[in-house]
């Protein structure tokens, strides 16, 4: 039986990286297929007909899409080196923060980095409030969201560890100020120093170039 694992991805995508990290943290061998999103492969469209997006994980020929669904699948099929707590209540708390990051985090990012100069001040305040909640209630005094080791919540918040810097440079607004968000700032440093994470990060210069291009394309479009 073919138990091969394949991952269809796109190199700048933080959603794809979540899956890469989960697979590597669990020591799962996989083949990576880079997709050109401007020119999606037949296979991708067949595997994910509803959303047509990456990442798509293919296990033993069966496709799974949506990064959060993929992560839960990986956790269930390969339960060693767990990424979610065993206790149902603790697990529901982890899922709550994952949901919060996905909903509120995404809208805060969108307003600040893609919203344009009008309302930039409000968007920055909205982003700070979001991060303050994360720092105080989700992270607290822990080293990682998962406690002493990384878990799924850390993988979801990784956007703020690794993708925020090029955005901050582009917009000229520093969001993760060490003086205002000391614990979150420390988490970013700790997260990026974890061996599996350190060895699997997109090149920051290439990322900046990509976002610069994307932002100028978006901003030049008429409303």
């Amino acid at each position: 039986m073919d138990n091969e694992v394949k991952l269809h991805g796109f190199w700048p995508s933080p959603f794809v990286y979540r899956v890469i990290w989960a697979l590597k943290l669990k020591g799962i061998e996989y083949d990576y297929i880079e997709e050109d999103l401007a020119n999606k492969s037949e296979l991708l469209l067949r595997y994910n007909p509803v959303y047509k997006k990456v990442p798509v994980l293919v296990h033993a020929g069966k496709p799974i899409s949506e990064s959060l669904v993929i992560l839960e699948y990986i956790e269930e099929v390969w339960p060693h080196n767990p990424l979610l707590p065993k206790d149902p209540y603790e697990r529901s708390v982890a899922r709550f923060w994952i949901n919060f990051a996905t909903d509120k985090g995404r809208s805060a990012v969108r307003s600040l980095f893609w919203g344009g100069e009008d309302g930039e001040k409000e968007a920055a305040e909205q982003m700070f409030n979001f991060l303050k909640i994360i720092e105080e209630q989700a992270l607290g005094d822990k080293k990682f969201f998962g406690g002493n080791s990384i878990n799924m919540v850390d993988l979801i918040f990784a956007w703020f560890a690794c993708w925020i810097q090029p955005m901050e440079q582009l917009v000229g607004i520093k969001v993760l100020e060490p003086s205002r968000l000391p614990r979150l700032h420390a988490w970013v440093k700790n997260f990026k120093e974890e061996p599996i994470i350190k060895e699997n990060l997109p090149d920051p210069e290439r990322l900046l170039e990509y976002y610069t291009r994307m932002r100028s394309n978006r901003m030049s479009k008429p409303n």
Binding site: L68, E72, Y73, P88, Y89, R95, N99, I133
Partner: protein
């Protein structure tokens, strides 16, 4: 034993209905507490300080917010009776994907059919029907989204049926005639006691919806 279970809810909330159905499917005894929306109680603010929304499931004093998270919690804690998620990981992934589709498409678009105006509203109505047709495709010839058994996606989706009357009246369109397979599935699901006892009456939902509309300043 079950422990102390409280459900903080609002009669017309489709998300609350999900949890009512799940708790009934599992035969869990719980205390139902109605929130008088749009006015919210201090207790709700205490139990869900971040989102300040219903439903909140409170088990032995500990709150679980967000309906799909609470659904999974209920399924995990009371796992021996009427499992909602399948045991096979691949089938579980598909169930999660479709439940997410319900939240992203059915809920968002359903809301737009009454909150949007003009062209935006017309587009929302069209996309809403399309989303139901996609779901019809996924259902296929199965009696339920869960297959032979009523499951996670069925629980996530059926409460929206109680809001169809409100959507149709406000949006001036008919859903049933365009999605007959979907209607057949709703009738089948309504035969389950857990569903018929948990779903809000469409007329009462419409009355609540009018209050909500006024509250949000939509004409």
């Amino acid at each position: 034993m079950d422990g102390e279970v409280i459900l903080l809810d609002a009669y017309a909330s489709m998300f609350g209905m999900r949890l009512r159905i799940a708790l009934a499917e599992k035969g869990v005894k719980y205390e139902y507490r109605e929130e008088n929306l749009p006015k919210k109680s201090p207790f709700l603010f205490q139990m869900n300080p971040i989102h300040k929304k219903v439903p909140v499931l409170i088990h032995n004093g500990k709150p679980i917010c967000e309906s799909l998270i609470a659904l999974q919690y209920i399924d995990e804690v009371w796992h021996d009776k009427n499992p909602l998620l399948p045991s096979d990981p691949y089938k579980r992934a598909q169930a999660r994907l479709w439940a997410d589709f319900v939240d992203q498409k059915v809920h968002t678009l359903g809301r737009k059919t009454w909150s949007a105006k003009g062209e935006e509203q017309e587009a929302a109505k069209k996309e809403f029907i399309e989303a139901l047709k996609v779901l019809e495709g996924e259902l296929g010839e199965k009696p339920y989204f869960g297959g032979e058994e009523f499951g996670y996606v069925d629980v996530a989706l059926i409460p929206f049926y109680s809001w169809f009357h409100a959507y149709e009246t406000c949006g001036n369109f008919k859903i049933g005639t365009q999605c007959p397979k979907f209607v057949a599935w709703t009738k089948r699901s309504m035969q389950r006691e857990s569903v018929s006892k948990s779903l809000a009456d469409p007329e009462k939902v419409y009355d609540f919806f009018l209050i909500l509309k006024k509250h949000f300043g939509v004409e």
